[in-house]
């Protein structure tokens, strides 16, 4: 559904997106992660033909978005952070206006979508009277009107309260399950991404630093929690015996391939060290993400 090849974007001298390759397959919920200014919104802007790429190839639904934008976006819906509307018009009128940029939309379809997002009864009120949650639902309604196959969500939970975030999460899951939509979700909320996405890509300063399944991300390094009498001495000896590849935080070790925790215990006990605890450390997406974001020495 989405294919980016060597996409680059420069704003003057600033490199916003650097040689980005991305593939989002039909039917998946794909998470796009990254800090503020990492290039997520710029990448989404390029996918929607709002931002011109400096280089590379962007295909949406099989069409090159820079030359066949109308075809590429025919079956695409999008929601942006802090959704904005024509506040002085009603929700209904807003939907009518926005949907007509895709194709004439019958009132029946607008009514259907309003029901689906739960705005029935408030559709004729001016948008300025809507709460943030209602605006989010209206944003969802406008994205669903063209009966999209691909939904691009740029920080859809931004500014929502915990109930709103939960509701948005449930809605995204419903959309995926009921309509089989392909969803690209850009978010800061790692918890949200962890619960929704099957695959993720992480951007750091415009560069993709990870692309894979959530399982790959959380099991990327096999960390084991170790509590011993003298951690530093134990690490020194385990390294010398080539049983571990790394250690951190005075409690975690990373085992070499093929090494089990039983070998570590017998090795340390054999050298007279007391082992109080050894257990696999569950790596969360947050741990993984923070590790990726750490500046590395070149």
């Amino acid at each position: 559904m989405i294919s980016l090849r060597h996409v680059q974007k420069n704003f003057g001298a600033r490199l916003a997106v650097d040689q980005l390759d991305l593939e989002v397959q039909h039917g998946e919920i794909f998470g796009l992660l990254g800090h503020n200014g990492a290039g997520k919104s710029t990448a989404i802007g390029m996918m929607l033909g709002q931002v011109w790429p400096t280089g590379g190839d962007i295909r949406i639904c099989g069409f090159d978005v820079t030359v066949q934008r109308q075809h590429a976006l025919k079956k695409v819906g999008a929601i942006f952070e802090a959704p904005v509307f024509y506040d002085y018009l009603s929700g209904w009128r807003n939907l009518e206006i926005l949907s007509h940029y895709t194709a004439p939309t019958p009132a029946k379809r607008i009514r259907e979508v309003i029901d689906w997002v739960g705005l029935t009864g408030r559709e004729k009120s001016k948008v300025r009277t809507y709460s943030h949650g209602m605006r989010a639902r209206l944003a969802l309604a406008q994205a669903l009107l063209p009966q999209p196959e691909l939904l691009i969500l740029d920080e859809p939970s931004d500014g929502l309260d915990p109930e709103g975030i939960h509701e948005m999460r449930q809605t995204i899951l419903r959309l995926h399950q009921e309509f089989g939509l392909t969803i690209l979700l850009s978010s800061h909320l790692l918890n949200e991404v962890e619960q929704l996405c099957t695959r993720i890509a992480v951007l750091n300063r415009g560069k993709k630093v990870f692309d894979g399944t959530l399982a790959e991300a959380t099991q990327k390094q096999n960390w084991v929690r170790l509590r011993v009498g003298n951690f530093d001495s134990a690490i020194e000896q385990l390294r010398a015996a080539e049983l571990i590849s790394g250690a951190r935080d005075q409690k975690l070790i990373s085992l070499n391939d093929g090494v089990g925790t039983d070998q570590i215990v017998s090795f340390l006990v054999g050298r007279g060290m007391a082992v109080f605890e050894i257990a696999p450390q569950d790596e969360t997406l947050e741990d993984f993400y923070l590790e990726l974001m750490k500046p590395r020495a070149h």
């Binding site: 709002q50 931002v51 009128r93 940029y101 194709a103």
Partner: protein
């Protein structure tokens, strides 16, 4: 489809209160001018004396059409450019500033089509504003001055125009049709600037500054030979309908030139908007 989209652009434009600010202020200005001309004796005595100096009966020409024309000339130089520039400057940059442009451009609509729709909506606004100027002028002047009197038009730099009621009415409406062209051109200029990455107010101020500068340059006596090169000369073509003889060749030439200016402003706006990155 195009009709639906244009209708929606008009909804957006005429759905907000600030659009009506221009209409309201225009009507208030008309009421104020007509009230002063009616109840401040030196003003209407002065008009009557000017008519009489030309050999006509002052009372006969101190009429709805004469006063409405005086108002039209004053307002066409002041408030009309201001309001059309404000609306033209808003059309693209306000949506970019608010973020609604990003919502629109996530739809499969081309930027060229979107701008053409917006420009047309702006032109419709210019038409409606000029119609309000004409009908408001007639209405208020009709309340305070005789309706069926002739038209006495004294436009600076032109021969005196003196017409009976029927001819005067025709001239008045013809002039307003061409006043639409002036309003539309100023709107187009502001619209062009609004396609750049700038604030709506900046687009309007830039357009008005250019119109003012053009006018000032045209009025400098040393540049009199060049006056046909200035935009203001062609923008004021609507005034020639108050001359005894209408110079149709000049009307045709200026209309063609203004059409060219409009097209140029639109094309520059399109070109700039086409290459712009639309970001939040």
């Amino acid at each position: 489809m195009f009709f639906y989209q244009l209708k929606n652009e008009l909804w957006k434009l005429f759905g907000k209160k600030r659009t009506y600010m221009g209409f309201l202020m225009l009507l208030l200005a008309q009421l104020l001018i007509v009230g002063l001309l009616r109840y401040y004796p030196p003003a209407h005595h002065s008009i009557a004396r000017t008519v009489e100096r030309s050999g006509f009966i002052g009372e006969r020409y101190l009429s709805m059409l004469t006063i409405a024309t005086i108002m039209a000339v004053v307002l066409a130089y002041t408030m009309l450019p201001l309001y059309v520039a404000l609306i033209g400057g808003d059309l693209v940059s306000k949506e970019a500033e608010d973020g609604t442009l990003r919502m629109i451009l996530s739809r499969p609509v081309s930027r060229v089509r979107l701008l053409c729709l917006k420009w047309l909506a702006g032109f419709v606004f210019a038409i409606v504003l000029v119609l309000a100027l004409a009908s408001g002028g007639m209405f208020f002047c009709g309340l305070f001055f005789p309706v069926d009197g002739g038209l006495f038009a004294q436009v600076p730099g032109q021969d005196l125009g003196i017409f009976n009621f029927a001819d005067g009415l025709g001239r008045f409406f013809l002039a307003h049709i061409f006043l639409i062209v002036k309003a539309g051109t100023i709107m187009s200029l502001a619209f062009m600037f609004s396609c750049f990455n700038m604030k709506p107010a900046a687009a309007a101020i830039l357009a008005l500054s250019l119109i003012l500068l053009d006018r000032i340059l045209m009025e400098i006596p040393y540049f009199q030979d060049l006056k046909e090169c200035f935009l203001s000369y062609h923008l004021n073509i609507w005034q020639v309908f108050f001359q005894p003889h209408i110079p149709w060749w000049q009307v045709g030439e200026s209309t063609g030139i203004l059409f060219g200016f409009n097209l140029t402003f639109l094309i520059i706006g399109l070109a700039v908007f086409q290459v712009r990155d639309i970001k939040s």
